[in-house]
């Protein structure tokens, strides 16, 4: 019984690794470019914008 459980764990771990490997293959240059551009824009608008929200004590 214990052996079966450990076998299942190994299989699920393999699945996770396979999934990660496939996902990594799908991340291409455009995704990285998009991510970098979004981070840049977030910093840019936070830097140049100055709205104040009502997060203080009400």
């Amino acid at each position: 019984m214990e052996n079966k459980n450990s076998q299942k764990e190994v299989i699920s771990m393999k699945n996770v690794f396979t999934f990660l490997a496939l996902s990594a293959h799908k991340i291409n240059r455009q995704h990285i470019q998009l991510f970098l551009m979004l981070v840049t824009l977030v910093m840019l608008v936070l830097g140049v914008g100055a709205p104040t929200d009502g997060s203080g004590p009400k």
Partner: protein, 192 residues
């Protein structure tokens, strides 16, 4: 928060637009990205880190001005995008009002009263910091009052935020930058 919403909305609009035309979403190509990271650093220190409480208000104001100037340079270097041109107008307006008011965005007690409880507001002295980048000033002491944080959503809205005219241009610019798909028009031109 409202500016981040503009980014999300712009990206969604761009993706939907590209999807409808069955073309790949083209990420706007921005140059000199490193400049944003460098420019944001002093601002991050004086607005988000706990050390900001110990810094003299003049130093904090100066850091904000320098940071905004560098970010404006970045926007200028990328002015080939239409959205960036709109964003530059907002940056200039915010820079003008902040530079004229010691490096901080002024907010009047009347506007601030919509954001925080009266008990809390009574503890904030005029001329002291209010929020990450704002300074509480009476309308008579604000230079370029029409450019200050003075716009508010309707009273019935659960999310209350004060924003400036510059912020409106910045939100519009970043939305347009992400939503407008340049390649679609070019390809359309080639096909026709």
């Amino acid at each position: 928060m409202i500016l981040l919403l503009a980014i999300v909305a712009g990206l969604l609009a761009g993706l939907v637009w590209a999807g409808m035309r069955k073309v790949r979403y083209e990420t706007p190509v921005l140059r000199h990205i490193w400049l944003v990271f460098v420019a944001f650093l002093p601002q991050y220190i004086v607005t988000y880190l706990p050390v900001r409480e110990n810094l003299p208000i003049r130093i904090s104001g100066l850091c904000l001005i320098v940071s905004q100037l560098l970010l404006f340079v970045f926007a200028m270097l990328n002015r080939n995008h239409q959205g960036m041109k709109i964003l530059m107008i907002g940056t200039m307006l915010n820079f003008l009002v902040m530079a004229a008011n010691g490096g901080f965005m002024p907010i009047s007690p009347q506007t601030a009263s919509r954001l925080v409880a009266p008990d809390f507001l009574s503890t904030v002295l005029p001329g002291s910091r209010f929020g990450p980048k704002d300074i509480l000033l009476s309308p008579g002491h604000i230079h370029f009052e029409w450019l200050a944080d003075r716009f508010l959503p309707p009273l019935w809205s659960s999310y209350q935020v004060a924003f400036s005219l510059g912020d409106i241009f910045i939100a519009a610019g970043v939305f347009w930058l992400l939503a407008r798909q340049k390649n679609i028009y070019i390809r359309k031109g080639y096909n026709s």
